[in-house]
């Protein structure tokens, strides 16, 4: 188990008390020890050790080193890694090795962070439990009978189990925050456009967002600083100066107005979870924050709107997997139609097929106005709700997920019940806002997450609040029994 902060690891590396190679070897060992969690789809020990050695050589040569230089971590298997298999949790891309690196991959490699492997995930990031992976479900380190959440379940499990101090993730409807909550770690979903999507395999382009899962807000801040920024290769990337999120971590919270959205504590939210989140909010209040009751009246439309827009985009984004140029190709197809239908039926799992069908339907002539267009209008209302709320408050708070981690198989036969697990997270993606999930204690020994939502580009405010909470509490330092 390694629970050292990135700052502590960085100090050890700088002082020569450890080396990148040593840290990478330890992380790879822990990955082996925790193989039962199935948190990795693939490990790259040779590439990791080679990279670690070159980082160590640079340090010995006296070069300027980035704060993340020599720190081991893992990429969600949705980020393209040059020459390294990138499956996106799908059979469709089994063995697919992209010829290029994603922007996030480039940035972290340039910083000298050492990737040890690619983490497990729901296929094409579609899922809330990691059970939709073609490479088997990942498991929750707090209770191996439970899911780690999804879709970035492998990343959350690997960080929670102490295999790596941080991992990359993506969040389309809660895929960073919900697994962070289920696994008792901190997960940051930045503002849409803040981190480049270049090289991140698309699920729903207008919602997809790269981010980070780590053991603390301070660690998230460090990684966020390394991956955020404009990229000309992504037309939706935002060219706007970045705040120094790390410098702003120590800012006191006195006077910070936190809105408690009534809807986020409503019907489907487990009472014990809600109570635990209120306890965390009480801690923030002690630190000087002012709690304000607010309402987000369109919140209950978020799930239906999301489950129209995301599948619609997915149905188009996943059309490229046709068995023609790369990826799974059905054997002995006798016609073009058969090549398409069999390659896709064999290559895609049930949930991906379901969303492609739903999305295709929503975009079809005669249904477009009733579904897609209407969902876009709801999306606008949701964004307006948030805008109005942020006139009154600086942050909005609620439970990240309505429950603690559920058991494997508990919801896998009921798509709607599974979708409901995203009730408090999807609206944030629809509005393109930044949000964080931070540990807020436990219910029956399982972690609970507090979600904080900020206006666009106010990541510093989120990280500051979560960091101050973590300075005053020890929930984030709790570790699962190995």
């Amino acid at each position: 188990m390694s629970s050292a902060s990135l700052a502590a690891l960085g100090a050890d590396l700088a002082a020569g008390r450890t080396s990148a190679a040593e840290l990478a070897a330890q992380a790879l060992d822990r990955a082996q020890q925790h193989a039962a969690l199935n948190s990795f789809i693939s490990l790259q020990p040779e590439a990791a050790l080679a990279h670690a050695n070159s980082v160590d050589a640079n340090r010995r040569a006296g070069r300027d080193m980035h704060a993340l230089a020599g720190i081991p971590f893992a990429h969600k298997d949705i980020f393209c890694t040059k020459g390294i298999a990138t499956t996106c949790g799908s059979r469709m891309l089994r063995g697919f090795a992209p010829p290029y690196d994603a922007q996030v991959v480039e940035r972290l490699a340039a910083a000298g962070a050492v990737s040890i492997g690619k983490t497990n995930m729901d296929e094409f990031a579609m899922g809330s439990s990691n059970e939709n992976s073609a490479y088997g479900a990942a498991r929750n380190p707090w209770d191996a009978a439970r899911v780690p959440g999804g879709s970035s379940g492998g990343s959350a499990a690997a960080v929670a189990a102490g295999i790596v101090p941080f991992a990359t993730g993506t969040d389309t409807g809660g895929s960073i925050r919900q697994p962070a909550a289920f696994c008792g770690i901190t997960g940051l979903k930045p503002t849409y456009g803040r981190v480049s999507r270049y090289g991140m395999i698309a699920y729903a382009s207008s919602l997809d967002c790269a981010g980070v899962l780590a053991r603390s807000a301070a660690d998230c801040a460090s990684v966020f600083s390394a991956i955020a920024g404009h990229d000309g290769r992504d037309a939706t990337s935002v060219d706007r100066p970045l705040e120094d999120v790390q410098a702003l971590l120590p800012r006191p919270l006195r006077g910070l107005r936190i809105g408690l959205a009534r809807e986020y504590f409503g019907g489907g939210v487990d009472a014990a979870v809600a109570a635990q989140v209120r306890a965390a909010l009480a801690e923030l209040e002690k630190l000087g924050a002012v709690l304000v009751d607010i309402s987000l009246p369109s919140a209950h439309h978020a799930i239906p709107a999301y489950y129209v827009i995301a599948p619609a985009e997915a149905s188009s984004n996943l059309a490229r997997y046709d068995g023609v140029r790369y990826g799974h190709r059905a054997a002995d197809a006798r016609s073009l139609d058969e090549l398409y239908s069999r390659s896709r039926a064999e290559g895609f799992g049930a949930e991906v097929q379901r969303r492609i069908l739903v999305g295709t339907y929503a975009l079809s002539a005669g249904y477009y106005d009733a579904y897609y267009l209407r969902a876009q209008k709801v999306r606008r209302l949701i964004a307006l709700d948030f805008a109005a709320a942020f006139e009154q408050v600086d942050l909005i708070a609620g439970p990240t997920a309505p429950t603690t981690a559920f058991r494997l198989g508990e919801k896998s036969d009921d798509a709607l019940a599974m979708y409901a697990a995203d009730v408090n997270t999807v609206a944030v993606n629809l509005a393109g806002l930044p949000a964080i999930s931070a540990p807020a204690g436990f219910v029956d020994g399982l972690p609970v997450g507090l979600q904080l939502i900020a206006p666009a580009f106010a990541e510093a405010r989120l990280l500051n609040a979560a960091h101050q909470l973590q300075q005053a509490t020890d929930w984030h330092t709790q570790e699962p029994q190995a």
Binding site: C80, R197, G199, R320
Partner: protein
């Protein structure tokens, strides 16, 4: 300009209604959404980037050069440029469409409605309404003949920028449609936004054709003839289709809304697929591309850089330079010719008709004979202007000028060098001319006598003889006058 006169009906009692969708490939160095080159004719799949082959995780980034060219076209047809236009995905599966969708524009195109004056071959001018023009990417190519029982895919063309120019259904004959297509072809080449090469597919069109009873308003069911890539084929395809539809309707059959293909060997169209079974393209705004913002400043920058347009130039040639319409039309059929003409004229001010005659006569013939573009003509505008100045000054005659031009084309040097070297200077010296005339009159005393008896036709004989004696260098006007004086006694 008799726009009110109706064109001849395709067949008695019927009126054809035609609209064209022209695809003009924008002449940019790189593709619409990737940095891959657009050059034609490269080895298959050598000009396809990661974006063009639609690798997972790749994203489109708009090419501003293509957008500028679309703006230029819009300004040239007097159309509004949308401050925000939207790229949309047109979804369908085909092996040469790597993403499974084509990025196009659907509800909000970059160029709004405009119009174009079109001169039809019968002398009428019609105004064709253009409904819109939008940016889209081309697909790749399926190669069916290179491999046994297999289809090859060449993605070099995938992602090439196209401007789709959509006319209203306002044309009523194949001749009008072709005249419109030619006018657009001239315009896009004039603007330098498309090379217009139809063999390479840089300029091609889909023809929407329907017919209705003369005098009725209701449009008939239309068919779409896809991807026709020559003016002649467009004419033949539309003519065939109009006749086919009229025949069908007269036989009591219904027209099926469908896509048809033109077979250039048989000059026929045949059914490709019926719209009833056609794909539902599920258009929706491309979430990878924010709305395309075009500011007023950018539009003004393009407007001020716009060249004088063919229509305006044609009118100036007629009104200001006094050229006949036919000359103005021909000179303005492409910008290089018009620019060449004006550069010649700059060297021989006030001689528009002389310059036009030469550009459309000798120069055009030589270009045609040698299959050379005017930009690459061995006789440039300044050189031709020198030649025409000498002609104008009476240094050489028109006949000699043609010989000098041929020598210049063959690379023997400038007009002055050739005139000097060959001693072609016209004899305008009265004394020298008089001597030559006297010698001729003395030699042909009999003919002189006949002339004086009233055989006026012999004047040309004497002119010819003097020209022969002076090796064609006599100034014809002076020669005529002097000869008449001498013959008058």
């Amino acid at each position: 300009m008799n726009a009110q006169i109706a064109p001849p009906p395709a067949a008695a009692g019927w009126q054809a209604v035609i609209g064209l969708e022209i695809h003009a490939q924008l002449s940019t160095a790189s593709k619409l959404f990737s940095g891959a080159p657009t050059a034609y004719g490269a080895e298959p799949n050598t000009q396809a980037s990661l974006v063009d082959i639609a690798l997972p995780g790749t994203l489109p980034v708009p090419n501003r050069a293509a957008i500028r060219k679309a703006i230029q076209f819009g300004l040239a047809i007097g159309a509004p440029i949308a401050p925000h236009s939207v790229f949309a995905r047109k979804n369908y599966f085909y092996p040469d469409l790597p993403k499974g969708y084509q990025i196009s524009q659907y509800e909000l195109p970059v160029v709004g409605p405009g119009k174009l004056k079109v001169r039809v071959d019968d002398g009428r001018t019609i105004e064709v309404e253009i409904q819109r023009a939008h940016l889209e990417e081309d697909a790749g190519k399926s190669v069916h003949d290179a491999f046994h029982a297999e289809t090859g895919i060449d993605l070099n063309r995938a992602g090439t920028p196209l401007l789709e120019i959509v006319s209203a259904p306002v044309m009523h004959s194949a001749a009008e449609a072709v005249a419109y297509m030619r006018t657009v072809h001239t315009l896009v080449r004039w603007l330098g936004i498309c090379d217009g090469n139809m063999q390479e597919g840089s300029f091609r069109c889909d023809c929407n054709v329907s017919v209705r009873r003369s005098g009725t308003e209701q449009l008939g069911t239309r068919t779409e003839i896809k991807n026709v890539n020559s003016f002649r084929f467009v004419e033949k395809a539309i003519e065939y289709e109009i006749e086919r539809q009229i025949r069908a309707l007269e036989n009591g059959e219904a027209i099926v809304q469908e896509t048809r293909l033109y077979d250039p060997t048989r000059h026929q169209t045949r059914s490709m697929r019926s719209k009833e079974s056609a794909d539902d393209y599920r258009y929706f705004p491309d979430p990878d591309l924010p709305p395309l913002a075009i500011g007023a400043a950018e539009i003004e920058r393009e407007r001020s850089a716009l060249p004088e347009l063919p229509q305006a130039r044609r009118e100036r040639y007629i009104a200001v330079l006094g050229l006949p319409e036919a000359d103005a039309d021909q000179l303005c059929s492409d910008r290089a010719t018009a620019d060449y003409f004006e550069a010649v004229l700059a060297g021989v001010p006030g001689q528009a008709k002389l310059c036009a005659n030469w550009v459309l006569g000798e120069v055009a013939a030589a270009l045609n004979e040698n299959a050379v573009e005017i930009a690459a003509a061995p006789v440039d505008a300044a050189a031709l202007a020198q030649l025409l100045s000498r002609l104008r000054e009476g240094v050489i005659s028109g006949k000699i000028a043609k010989d000098v031009f041929a020598a210049m084309w063959a690379g023997e040097g400038s007009a002055d060098v050739i005139i000097e070297a060959r001693g072609l200077k016209q004899i305008s010296d009265t004394g020298a001319l008089a001597t030559a005339i006297d010698a001729v009159l003395a030699e042909y005393a009999g003919q002189v006598a006949d002339y004086r008896k009233g055989n006026d036709k012999l004047l040309q004989f004497f002119v010819g003889q003097v020209m022969k004696r002076t090796r064609g260098q006599a100034n014809p006007q002076q020669l005529n006058e002097l000869l008449k004086q001498k013959l008058a006694g």
